[in-house]
Structure formats: C-alpha cells, structure tokens
Symmetry: C2
Subunit: 148 residues, 2 copies
Amino acid sequence: MTTRPTTCSIGRAMDLLGERWTMLILREAFWGVRRFTELQRNLGIARNILSARLQALVAAGILERRLYHEEPERYEYVLTQKGRDLYPAIVAIMRWGDKHLSEGQAPPLVLRHSCGGDAAPHLACAHCGEPVDPRDITPEPGGVASLA
Amino acid sequence: MTTRPTTCSIGRAMDLLGERWTMLILREAFWGVRRFTELQRNLGIARNILSARLQALVAAGILERRLYHEEPERYEYVLTQKGRDLYPAIVAIMRWGDKHLSEGQAPPLVLRHSCGGDAAPHLACAHCGEPVDPRDITPEPGGVASLA
C-alpha cells in the first residue's frame, strides 16, 4: 500500500468546486457574463442559491465583486487570476462531457483558437511538449515529506 | 445576451463528478488501486458511502466491476476508457489545487513524464500545439443547432 500525502490538491479543490452550479457559474464567467441578473437568467437558478454560490466564490478568491454603478449600488463578478487558472479544469471537464455524455450528438461548443484551428485542447508535457497519457506518467512525492 | 446550448457538457459532467469522494476514488484508480478494502483504507471513507459511489461510477460506465476471486467472490474496480479519459480533468483540478490551495507548500505530487521531465501538464491547442490561454479562445456553436 502506498501512503497518501496528508494533503491532496484534488480533495481541496473539490471542496470548492464540487457542485454543479459553481462550475456553471464559472462557465458563464469565462463567457464574459458578470452580472447577477444575467447569470440568473442564463442558468435558470434560484436567486438565493446564486447569491450563496457567488458569495462562496468571492470568499474563495475565485471571483471578485466590483461596484459598477453607484446609485443604486450594483455589483458585477469578475474572475480573479485564481479563477482564470480554472480554465484548463473547465475545458477538460467540458471535453470529457462532449465525448462521453453527448449521446452521439456533436459537441455543443467548439473552441476556436487564435491560430484559426479548432483548439480541441489536450494535456501536453511542459518538458517535451508531447500529449500526456496517464500510462506515461509516474506520480512522485513533491515537496511534502509525508509521502512515503 | 447569448443563448446557451440547451445541452451543456459541463453541467452533465458535474452531475456525475461533482462530489468530493467520487474524484478521490478516481484519483485512487489512476494510482492503480482497484479493491474495496484498499480504497476504504486509503480514503478513510465509510463503507456504505464508498459502496454507493462505486455503484454510481459503475452505472455511469466510468469503472468496471471485475470478479478476481471465485470463493469467496471478490470484485475489483477498474477504469474503463470513459474513466481513463477523465485523466486531463483530474490533472487540471490537481494542478489548480497545487497552485492555489496549498498555502505556499510545494505540490504533494510531481507528475514525472516518460520523457524524464516534470510533466507539469498544460492545455495545448491540437492545431498549432501552443499552450491555450482563455483569451485566445472563441467558443463557437458546435453541431447543436439550438445555439443562437
């Protein structure tokens, strides 16, 4: 048996992200949607639930609440750097859903890259640039000494 | 306002994956852990919850239940292709947690690629091979006609 790290980045991340509405709010944020009423309309979500999810995302530092109108006071919700860094996770989840949960239909969205091509993003190794396959990866202890 | 696809791969995926234990079970599966008792020990999860999560993952076609011992009957849980295809999502979530939820500590794990380098996997464009930044991506309607 392999001892696990006492800390796990997946567990900690899922504590924040593991909720359908949270990921859909982030999807909207990546589409450029910033306002409560627009989020509510696009998602068909109850106001109190949307409000609670936005507060949690602001508290987690994933969204930032910004005043955009003084009287009456109106706020919008903007991705922070921490939030923008969730893009690979959201894209990976979307592409998995496209492939495995679409019941034979074409993907709802195509991600067009600035190079002109269909980005169809994949994981690549930072060292050699090749696509990463789980069979080619060996997890090794990082800087945390608790991993046996 | 942009009309959303009536189907959303993120929403459908989160209905399956949006649960802390589910992602941790998949983490274990990618580490090669296949057996109930070992999963239970590694995760410190209640038997009834683990049992329910495994059943859901099997029903979703993400894990396959295989008999590995006849008397007494013993089963193990193995990733299907659909399950293996979750690797980019799990890695992306892990790397985000490493960067943003580790409170300044080094990542618990490093992913060593077969090329010898630290894979530090990033999202790359299938067309040009360059790293994908959300600012360089334009979502376009795919094959579903309901996107305005």
